[in-house]
């Protein structure tokens, strides 16, 4: 077989789609067909895609589970909370330090609280499954408290916990009362719930909102107070964004949840604006904080230098303060020359190249911006655990059919807080800002409008489809996660992990953009992709002896 890169792409999107489905049994083909959309530039939006539905048993999916979304993604990067996993050992082991959330122990330096390097588990045994694990959980909470005296202990359920009926919420409440100075709460994030990690994000949002947000009314000082939601500090992304905020004079009260602390969450209700990065994983808490405390939220994106500048301008426009607007412009003017020089340097080697991205519930969209800045085209993209609104925009939410799997995930009824609800802006002021076109509240456009017509948007891509797509369309780079990395690279196509960034990062903000340009330039132009064949494989085997004679 010749290296796939040498073949010529000729197929149109409909033919590619047919090829992707060709091997499937009819039932599977019918289902998958609805999750593979040929993008069109329609006047009022994009075609409808099916998303957030069950994965088909036996089809090798990229997806993980609810526990992974809750413990791994949302709560994983909280450095001073003891995250205790109630279950057999594996779930705790696999979520131990594998997500590359960078952590700064804070102003206390080496004495600062940091439990990121620890994995805590009740390591349930057969007798716990048979007789129940509540006593063991209570004892484990006590032992964790006695050893570390943390401010807070979070308990996570794994699959068997829900099945045997351990009441982790009652155990947590009782232990909270017993310990007195430690907030203990639990997450019912059993892996079988929902259809992907996404259900776990929602469950995490609910409990963080219910048990932590607003728990600390001691005032946080600072000007232009915001919280950054849905940023997990993979490879130090959050550090770069914080650097930029600081330079602009913006106070970031809380990051949900990269390099975060309990206090950040507890005081987050004091922010005047919530800036949402990863819409999919965190929009619930943004909505709830708006209803309860009157904090508006806007969608931002700090992936891509231009996107970063745009997001900073949005935040500045929201505060309607000339000092901040000027400061943000000065920062952009100061940061951009270095970015532009970096683009100029790599552009001759990246322009016209193609990319595919199948990752997350927002990242496949965010990274579009960076590839555009490099003159690269995204020819196919999709999410691992996105919902329809992540593809088509929030305006489709009322039309999304709520199926049994989604109905099982709790929706919290939130009301305005009796004493602390304070609309940050009047409805008129918000309308005026929207009319001016600078800020759109509570809105997300989705991935599809940013993709070209004729590109393929594929939800919950699987191993077979990934391999077929790469063989047919021969992208110059493919982006997904660790499980997909090496099957793609065996085909001779460079693969970049966009969950954990392989070993790189940060890729957010201005400096991150430069890192990404250089990383992609390195990958797509690496000499290694030309070494697939040995010299003697270029010629018929027997010609060797003939030439030598």
């Amino acid at each position: 077989m010749t290296a796939v890169k040498n073949r010529k792409a000729q197929l149109g999107p409909a033919e590619v789609k047919a090829e992707l489905l060709a091997k499937y049994p009819p039932k599977v083909a019918r289902k998958r067909s609805k999750q593979i959309m040929i993008n069109e530039a329609l006047e009022n939006g994009t075609p409808e895609i099916t998303a957030n539905v069950r994965t088909i048993p036996g089809i090798i999916t990229m997806r993980g589970c609810t526990y992974a979304g809750c413990k791994g993604v949302i709560m994983g990067p909280t450095r001073d909370i003891v995250n205790l996993v109630h279950g057999p050992i594996g779930c705790s082991f696999y979520a131990w330090l594998t997500r590359r959330n960078q952590t700064d122990p804070g102003p206390e330096g080496p004495d600062g609280e940091n439990f990121m390097t620890y994995a805590f588990s009740t390591d349930m045994q057969e007798q716990d499954i048979i007789f129940g694990g509540e006593k063991k959980l209570a004892a484990a909470i006590q032992e964790a408290y006695d050893l570390f005296h943390p401010k807070s202990i979070a308990v996570f359920a794994t699959c068997p916990v829900g099945l045997i009926g351990d009441d982790i919420h009652t155990v947590s409440r009782q232990m909270k009362e017993k310990l007195g100075d430690c907030n203990v709460y639990a997450f019912s994030c059993e892996g079988y719930k929902g259809v992907s990690q996404s259900a776990g994000h929602h469950i995490a949002n609910n409990q963080v909102f219910r048990h932590i947000v607003g728990a600390d009314d001691r005032p946080v000082e600072g000007k232009y107070k915001i919280s950054l939601l849905g940023e997990y500090n993979i490879g130090g992304d959050g550090f770069e964004i914080d650097r930029i905020f600081k330079k602009c004079g913006i106070t970031n009260i809380a990051t949900f949840s990269g390099n975060s602390t309990y206090k950040q969450f507890a005081t987050a209700h004091q922010a005047d604006l919530n800036a949402v990065m990863c819409h999919r994983s965190i929009n619930y808490v943004a909505d709830m904080m708006e209803t309860k405390f009157g904090i508006p939220w806007i969608k931002v994106n700090f992936i891509g230098a231009k996107a970063t500048a745009k997001s900073l301008r949005k935040i500045a426009a929201y505060f309607e303060d000339k000092e901040l607007i000027d400061r943000v412009e000065a920062v952009i003017a100061e940061e951009m020359p270095e970015v532009e020089a970096a683009v100029k340097e790599i552009l001759p080697r990246t322009e016209g190249k193609t990319a595919m991205m199948f990752v997350g519930g927002s990242r496949a969209h965010h990274y579009n911006e960076l590839f555009k800045e490099m003159g690269m085209k995204t020819i196919s993209a999709g999410y691992e655990f996105g919902h329809r609104d992540d593809y088509e925009g929030r305006r489709v939410i009322p039309t999304i059919e709520v199926d049994a799997d989604s109905r099982n995930i709790e929706e919290i009824e939130v009301e305005a807080d009796a004493t602390r609800f304070k609309p940050r802006k009047t409805a008129e002021a918000m309308q005026a800002l929207e009319a001016a076109g600078t800020v759109k509240f509570k809105d997300y456009e989705g991935l599809a409008p940013d993709m070209d017509a004729g590109t393929l948007i594929i939800d919950d891509l699987n191993q077979h489809e990934a391999e077929t797509l790469v063989k047919l369309l021969k992208p110059d780079i493919f982006c997904a996660g660790i499980k997909e990395k090496f099957s793609i690279q065996k085909l001779g196509i460079p693969m970049k992990q966009l969950h954990s960034y392989d070993s790189g990062g940060p890729y957010a903000g201005f400096k991150g953009a430069i890192n990404f340009y250089q990383e992609i330039d390195r990958l797509v132009n690496s000499k290694v992709w030309s070494y697939m064949k040995a010299p003697w494989q270029e010629n018929p085997q027997l010609s060797g002896a003939y030439v030598w004679e």
Partner: protein
């Protein structure tokens, strides 16, 4: 300090595991199943288990790891996962067309009581398993044993395929245990040098250390074939390496098909390799060739040449029982002192065996089955060591305590080489000693004063 909250003072914990020195059964079953040629491992549970196991194995091997899942939902968790598994069988054979599917359970499917043999029977009756294709299954509840138990259970499940023909095949079954693909290659090389025909199962060489050629094979060239697995019933004997990871399968072949077995330690280090070679020699009735004598002599030579640097150096170890037993014996045999030893895998026999191996050592030994890295770290704070040997998670302890660190075991997430360079056999012993020496001497060079700094060591 990255583990700044770990106190020196040790308090016994009854319920809380901190920084585990084990993981759960299904990942071991998945790794073992990858050692069958043309096999797709299948995880019968919610899809997160499969995703986590594939990720962990991929990070360790830097190779594609294909495996499917029953993708349980809340409904299947209540009503049972039979429908999911039946659907999975149809889809897997239609889309990926493996020779065999090796199904393992999870804590989820075990807790609800799904019966894999019964589901398989139904699948066969309903024609869901095409002619000439196979399904084997292992029960691997995550709440019992460890990843090693899961490996052992899947290897045992492979013996289901053994089919006596009534005629001996003249071969030795070789069960390598949970070792690296490179180790499996080395065991095959040694057997070949001995002139012994072997059936090694599982065999992940050629599966998890494949070349980059521009072609992706979901089912790579390596792995034990189904024909070989069938033939294991006709072998003259079985050598099982590692009581924890290999013995059950060997005993099964013995009791079911009267294939006699010998259960040995994993051949890490001089003495365990000696016993392995001797067992091959006796079981197959062959002479040990000169090449192997030379390899053995080279290992003895290195031990003698560099003995002064090994002598009475203290070592802390974390890992899996079979590996730790062999490594402890090796370290004691070169006069190093393994003083703190933990495994997360339960088993009283482990502690007893370690105590026997270290009985003559001039220092106290701490050993714990069902231990964890947190306890190991506390032991190290109370009795410092010169070297730590463990999987990658040890790097946090090594950094905090400023101790030389040898990565050995599973998983290794931050270094290369384990896929390619064996640590079993005499050559593997040389590699282990070279690595240990380099660590100890690099440390000496770093710490020696300018006056003491020397060219020749």
């Amino acid at each position: 300090m990255l583990l700044r909250h770990t106190p020196k003072e040790i308090t016994e914990r009854s319920a809380l595991t901190i920084n585990p020195a084990k993981t759960c059964q299904p990942i071991g079953a998945m790794y073992a199943a990858l050692g069958i040629h043309g096999c797709l491992p299948h995880s019968h549970g919610s899809q997160g288990c499969c995703a986590y196991h594939r990720s962990a194995l991929t990070r360790h091997y830097k190779e594609p790891v294909s495996a499917a899942t029953s993708s349980f939902t809340e409904g299947s968790s209540v009503f049972g996962g039979q429908a999911n598994l039946m659907q999975a069988f149809s889809n897997i054979f239609a889309v990926y067309n493996p020779e065999i599917i090796a199904v393992h359970t999870t804590c989820l499917s075990e807790t609800i009581g799904d019966d894999l043999p019964q589901i398989r029977k139904k699948a066969i009756a309903e024609g869901k398993i095409p002619e000439g294709k196979y399904v084997i299954s292992a029960s691997t509840p995550s709440y019992a044993g460890s990843h090693v138990t899961g490996f052992s259970n899947m290897v045992k499940a492979m013996t289901e395929l053994a089919e006596p023909t009534g005629k001996k095949n003249g071969k030795v079954n070789l069960i390598p245990g949970w070792v690296e693909p490179a180790d499996m290659e080395e065991l095959k090389r040694l057997s070949k040098l001995m002139g012994v025909g072997t059936i090694m199962f599982p065999d992940t060489s050629g599966v998890l250390n494949t070349p980059l050629t521009g072609e992706y094979k979901m089912f790579p060239d390596g792995g034990t074939t189904i024909a070989e697995l069938k033939s294991t019933a006709d072998s003259i004997g079985t050598i099982a390496l590692g009581e924890w990871s290999s013995a059950d399968a060997a005993r099964e072949l013995d009791s079911k098909h009267k294939v006699p077995c010998k259960i040995l330690d994993m051949p890490f280090g001089l003495k365990a390799t000696d016993r392995f070679i001797d067992a091959l020699h006796k079981m197959a009735g062959v002479n040990v060739p000169e090449e192997i004598m030379v390899e053995r002599g080279q290992l003895v030579d290195l031990i003698s040449d560099m003995h002064q640097y090994f002598y009475h150096k203290k070592v802390a170890l974390a890992g899996d029982p079979d590996q730790l037993i062999a490594m402890t014996e090796f370290l004691v045999s070169i006069d190093m002192c393994p003083v703190h030893i933990v495994t997360g895998t339960p088993g009283k026999k482990f502690e007893k065996r370690i105590k026997e191996l270290t009985a003559g050592m001039p220092c106290q030994v701490n050993v714990r089955a069902k231990g964890d890295f947190f306890l190991l770290h506390q032991w190290m704070k109370n009795e410092p060591v010169d070297l730590l040997i463990s999987n990658t998670y040890g790097k946090y302890i090594a950094r905090d305590e400023d101790v030389p660190f040898l990565r050995w075991g599973f998983p290794i997430l931050d270094r290369q080489g384990h896929q390619y360079f064996p640590t079993v056999g005499y050559k593997g012993g040389l590699r282990l000693l070279e690595k240990i020496l380099t660590l100890l001497l690099d440390r000496k060079d770093r710490d020696d004063t300018e006056m003491k700094f020397e060219l020749v060591l």
